[in-house]
Each structure stands twice: as C-alpha cells, then as structure tokens.
C-alpha cells in the first residue's frame, strides 16, 4: 500500500511532512506537530474506559445540561426570550442565511465542473469502503430521514393552500404566508408554486450545505491528515491556533448544533410515531407513549451502536431505503399515477423556474414565507450540517470530489423531488379531485397517515410508515452519537464504545425532557441560534475547500 514511486499522476508529497507517507497515492498532507488525542483525558471510572477531549467534552455536556434544566424549570420565563430571539434572527438575519446558502450551492455545483473535481478523497488511489447502495442509503437516511416523513405530505399541501389563498396586505405589509406572489384562485399555478417552494426547501440548497461541510471535513481529514473534527477546517485560516481555544469553541459549537438538531428531529419522529400508533392501533397518543417510544427506540439504537457502522447504521439504512422506496412505489402506483408522473417533470421545471426568485436574499415581498419558512429551514439544515456532514465525510473516503458532489447534491435532490411529488401531490390531488380535506385538517404529525388512509391497504402502509419513522430515528441517533463522540474525543474515531452509548442516552434524554417540557419552540430557537454562527463557519469552509483542493494532486 506504499506510494508507487512510478506513479505518473504523482506530485511530490509535501516536503514539509517528512516521515509521513502520503495517503493512498499522492495527496498533500498538512504538517503539524499536533498529535490527535494529545489533549485527551483517559480514565477508567467504574471499570469503563473513557478517552475524551477534556475541555470540549466537559463544557459542552455541562452547558447542555444547564440548558435543559433551565428550559424545564423556568419555562414561563425563558419561552418569551426564546420567542424574541427566534423572531429577531429569522426576521433580521434571513438575508444572510439565504445569501450564504446560495454561495454553498454555487460552490458545490461549480466544483463538479472544474478540474478540482478530480481530486480523490483519501488520496489518489484510495478505495471506497462502502458499496454505492450502502453509501447512498446512509447519505439519505442521515440527511433527511424523519424530515421527509414529517413534511412530505404537509409542506406541499400548506404552500398549495396559502398560494391559493392569494396575497393579503395590511399597512403595506404582506400578512399571508404564500411564497413569492402567490397564485390566488389559479389551481394549477398554485400547485406549481407550492411544489416548487417545497422542493426548494428539500432540494439543492440543503444538500449543498451538507456537501460543503462534508467535503471540507473529508478533505482535511483524509487528505490532509488532520483530526476528523470541525476545527480542522479552520487550519488554513487559523493555523496552529485551531488546537487551542478557537478550535475548542468551534468544536463545542458543533456539538451544540448537532445535539439540538438531533433532538428536534428525534422529538418530531417520536411525536409522529406516537400519532401513527394512535391512528392505527388506538394506542393513546400521550406523553407516556412518547416517552416509552423514545426509550424503546433509543435501546434499539444502542444495539445498533454496539454493532458498529458496517453492521449497524449501514444495514439499517439499507433496510430503510428499501422500505421507503416500497412506500414511495406504492403511493405512486395506487395514488394518482399519471398526475405524479407528469407532476415530477412539471414540478422539477417549476422548481428550476422559480429557483432564482425563491433564493433571492434581498428585496423579498413574501416576508412571512422567506423568513418563517426558508430562513428557518436554512438555519435548521446549517445547524444540522456538522452532524450530517461529518457522517457523510466518514463514509465517503475513496470517492472523487466530482463523484462525491454528484452523489450528495444531485441524487438526493432528485429523490426529494420525486418524494414530495408523490406524497404531497397525492394529498393535493385528494383535495382537488375528491374534495377530501381530512389531511389539511389533521394535525401536522398525523397528515401522512390520513393521506395513506385514503389509499387501499392503509393498515399495512401506515404500519410501514411508522416503522420507517422509527428506523430513521434509530439511524439518526446512532450516527449522531458517532459524530458527537468523535468531536468530544478530539477527533478520535476509535475512542471506547461506552462514550457512544453515553451520547445516545443523552440524545434520548434531551428529546424526552424537551418534549415533556413542551420545549419544541426552545429547541427550534436553539437550532436557529447555533445555525447563525455556524453559517460563518461554513463560509470559512468554502474558502478552505477551494484552498485545500488547489493543493491536491488530481487523479484521472
């Protein structure tokens, strides 16, 4: 596996890194004296081995504990504060979120077509560790999973409804929630606009955000030899200072963002699974059910963690992809097949047509939509990006940058279009053709099941839906624990297993605590608040990616 001295594509490895052979084939290692794990604390309390980054682990776990306790104990006092922060950030900073997301998408798509796309992650001769199907499945399960189940029906329907409603103004301000200029009374136009707006939130932009983070992490870890944590991305900017407090802060921020993002998603998953069980089996949909669900699912997640990435997350993700495609296929076959088939291309076209207007950061008239929906989504994706990005990075060694970007950007975006068209399109069709408004009237977490209830075999499909939500929950919790553990262990991926177990339990506990405390609003605020500084981190990552890729040899 040593470097082939006759390698034609070989460029001399960095002369500064004597004694360190390049990764498989030529690559350009960064020379640093930092030894991964040098700031770690190792101990064996109660016979359990731990190996942690003292500062990052201690500060992030204490602050999170503090946040949960404060939220639960002083709910009446902190809720208004959270609300104020939330509306300030989405109201005043939405241009920043929108602008930044556009930059990420443009960079990610641009890199596909530049010669830099030939750089291979892990060195010019690195071999991929997972098959295409396993890889795609993990990308998708980690990146969206529960969100697609939760919003697949409700979001297209909502935008369709507001677009049909037209615009309403009060004192010169738009008070409606319709995207862009709405489409009052024009059914076809309202469908187009509603689907375009939904796909906009689930298409290129979120995946562009993930791609930037994942690519930066993979590049600086696999090709440059730095630890797999967020701070490594800042090496081109901060130099050796990334190993000190600036780096600690970046990593702590990444832990927050990951935990809050995960807890939001887990809370959504638990409430949807509980709603589904209540709808299907009449199991009371209350807090007891949800707490039991979270505990039960967390236990399964623990088993998956103990089984490792290969046998745990990968297999579950593949199972889930199979189930998800079955469900998708069923909805397409049994639902309005023709409408979905034509709708797919229609929606894709209207997405592309409306893309410039929807992604415009300045001079927006649809303030409610662009701030309340788009800016929130962007902040959510961004605060989730360290988690998804790190996980994607970890399983993507051996792919070229071009292959990586196509797989992370275009494939999932296309699947999102199809998914939204099938689920949202069917629900809209039920409203238009059958005059069935049950879905619109149902609670958010129930909408998927009510839509399926109008199709045949509803018992089976609803059950598959519930299983899907649960397995997505498991894979999120599993991969999330992996990521947080690696950040809090100073970038070590071979830290002792009990640490992963610890984080999986903490995630479950946060989800329970905040659900019981009614703290979903608090969670969303936390997501947005960590999203803002992280946008700056990501903009820095863009610079680092280009700089890092420029110094890499390109493979054929």
């Amino acid at each position: 596996m040593a470097n082939d001295p006759n390698d034609k594509s070989a460029k001399e490895p960095n002369t500064g890194s004597e004694g360190i052979p390049a990764p498989e084939g030529p690559a350009n290692l960064i020379d640093t004296d930092y030894v991964i794990g040098q700031d770690n604390i190792t101990a064996s309390p109660l016979g359990i081995n731990v190996d942690l980054h003292g500062k990052v682990f201690t500060i992030s776990s204490l602050v999170i504990l503090f946040f949960v306790i404060i939220t639960l104990a002083l709910q009446d006092y902190v809720t208004p504060i959270f609300d104020a922060i939330f509306s300030f950030l989405t109201g005043n900073m939405s241009w920043f979120f929108l602008l930044a997301a556009n930059i990420f998408v443009i960079l990610a798509i641009g890199l596909i077509f530049t010669p830099l796309g030939k750089v291979r992650i892990g060195g010019a001769h690195a071999k991929p560790e997972f098959s295409y199907t396993g890889w795609f499945a993990m990308l998708f399960a980690a990146g969206m999973g529960i969100g697609l189940m939760f919003y697949g029906v409700s979001e297209p329907l909502t935008h369709f409804g507001t677009a049909m409603g037209g615009t309403a103004t009060e004192n010169g301000m738009r008070t409606d929630w319709a995207p862009l200029g709405a489409a009052a009374g024009d059914q076809a136009a309202a469908i187009d606009l509603g689907m375009a707006a939904t796909i906009f939130h689930w298409g290129l932009h979120p995946w562009g955000i993930y791609a930037v983070v994942a690519l930066a992490l993979a590049l600086f870890s696999f090709n440059k030899g730095l630890p797999l944590t967020m701070r490594s991305i800042f090496y081109p900017i901060l130099g050796e200072r990334v190993w000190g407090w600036p780096g600690h802060l970046i990593d702590i921020l990444a832990v927050f963002a990951t935990l809050f993002g995960l807890a939001t998603s887990l809370g959504m998953g638990a409430s949807q699974a509980a709603a589904g069980l209540g709808y299907l089996f009449g199991i009371p949909n209350n807090n007891v059910t949800m707490v039991l669900l979270i505990m039960g699912i967390s236990l399964v997640a623990l088993m998956s963690i103990l089984a490792g990435v290969d046998k745990g997350v990968q297999r579950l993700s593949q199972l889930n992809m199979a189930l998800a495609f079955l469900l998708l296929g069923f909805v397409i076959m049994v639902g309005p097949t023709l409408a979905i088939a034509t709708g797919f291309f229609n929606n894709l076209a209207s997405y592309l047509v409306n893309l410039p207007a929807l992604s415009m950061p300045f001079g927006r008239e649809d303030a409610n939509f662009s701030q309340g929906w788009t800016a929130f989504y962007w902040a959510w994706w961004i605060s989730w990006s360290p988690f998804v990005g790190m996980f994607i990075a970890r399983v993507s060694r051996g792919r070229t940058v071009r292959e990586f970007l196509i797989a992370v950007m275009l494939v999932p975006s296309t699947v999102s279009v199809l998914w939204m068209t099938a689920f949202g399109g069917t629900a809209i069709d039920q409203v238009i053709s059958d005059g069935f408004t049950g879905v619109q009237d149902a609670a958010l977490e129930l909408q998927l099941f009510v839509m399926l209830g109008q199709l045949p075999l509803t018992q089976i499909t609803s059950f598959v839906g519930i299983v899907l939500v649960m397995v997505f929950f498991i894979t999120s919790s599993d991969s999330g624990s992996l990521v947080i553990d690696s950040i809090t262990a100073g970038g070590k991926v071979d830290a002792p297993k009990p640490q992963r177990v610890f984080w999986a339990l903490i995630e479950g506990a946060i989800a329970i605590a905040l659900l019981l405390g009614g703290g979903l609003a608090a969670l969303q605020t936390a997501v947005i608040t960590t999203g803002l500084p992280f946008t700056v981190v990501l903009l820095a990552a863009c610079y680092a990616i280009v700089k890092g890729l420029m110094s890499e040899p390109r493979s054929g």
């Binding site: 596996m1 040593a2 470097n3 360190i20 052979p21 390049a22 990764p23 498989e24 290692l29 030894v35 991964i36 794990g37 040098q38 016979g47 359990i48 892990g122 060195g123 560790e129 997972f130 870890s221 696999f222 030899g225 730095l226 630890p227 797999l228 963690i305 103990l306 089984a307 490792g308 990435v309 290969d310 046998k311 745990g312 970890r394 399983v395 060694r397 970038g491 070590k492 991926v493 071979d494 830290a495 002792p496 297993k497 009990p498």
Partner: protein
C-alpha cells in the same frame, strides 16, 4: 505444533500488550514459528498515524524491531476499518484466516460486569475461530 502466531497489536497502548508480546515471542522460539503482528486502524487520522499507510509503516517497523529481539521470522498486517472499535472482533476473526495463523496470542482484561453488554474481544474471537487462542491477562508476569 504451531507454525504461525498472530499477535493483535495496539500501537497506541504498547504498555498494555507487553505481556502478550513476551508470551508470543517465547512460544515462537519454542515452536520455531513465525510471528505475524496485526494492527487495526481507522481510515481517519488517529493518535498513532495520520494515514493508514503511515500506520502500516509503523507497524512493520515495530514487527522488525520485535523480530530482532526474539530472532524468529516476523510479518505485519495492517487492516483498515471504517469503524475499528465496533468491528474489531470480526476484523480480527477474518484476519486469522487471512494470515493463516494457527495460534493467536492476545491481551485481554480480567472478566468484569460490563462484559455482559460489551464482551471482551479475546472472548469473542475465541468463540469464532478454529485457531488456538492464548489470552494473556495484564497481570501476567507481575
């Protein structure tokens, strides 16, 4: 009786595996066997090496050094795993066949309660291979 002895090595914790290295060397001399040092590393940079290739070089150097000490033929094998902690047992079990070892000498910790949830690597490996397994406790020789 034994022709090839496989010794799993953790380059990050050499002090913990010293007793098993010693036992493997003595057995190799007694049976005139080859010693194969096996290391499992992540594909991401770790505390021992920045890349799997650097790890492989360090492991080979380590094997040669040990070979000079005990005089028996040595070899080394580096296995890259995306998740070296969770997959360690299976990786080692596969490695036994790959290198063709008939005896494995590996360190293990004394039994403890946590084993019920996270079993020891040595115990797991021993139940999944035809090769003979020699588990060395850390207290050996003290």
């Amino acid at each position: 009786m034994f022709k090839k002895i496989m010794v799993p090595v953790d380059l990050a914790h050499l002090e913990l595996i010293e007793p098993s290295l010693q036992a493997a060397a003595d057995l190799a001399k007694h049976y005139q066997a080859e010693v194969c040092y096996v290391g499992v590393t992540a594909s991401t940079p770790g505390s021992v090496a920045h890349t799997p290739e650097e790890y492989a070089e360090k492991l080979e150097a380590f094997a040669q050094k040990r070979g000079n000490m005990h005089g028996q033929p040595v070899s080394s094998k580096t296995i890259v795993s995306p998740d070296p902690i969770a997959d360690l047992d299976n990786t080692l079990i596969e490695a036994i066949d790959d290198v063709g070892a008939d005896l494995v000498v590996m360190p293990t910790h004394p039994p403890k309660h946590a084993d019920a949830v996270i079993p020891s690597h040595g115990g797991k490996v021993a139940t999944h291979t035809k090769a003979s397994i020699f588990l060395v406790r850390p207290s050996a020789g003290k």
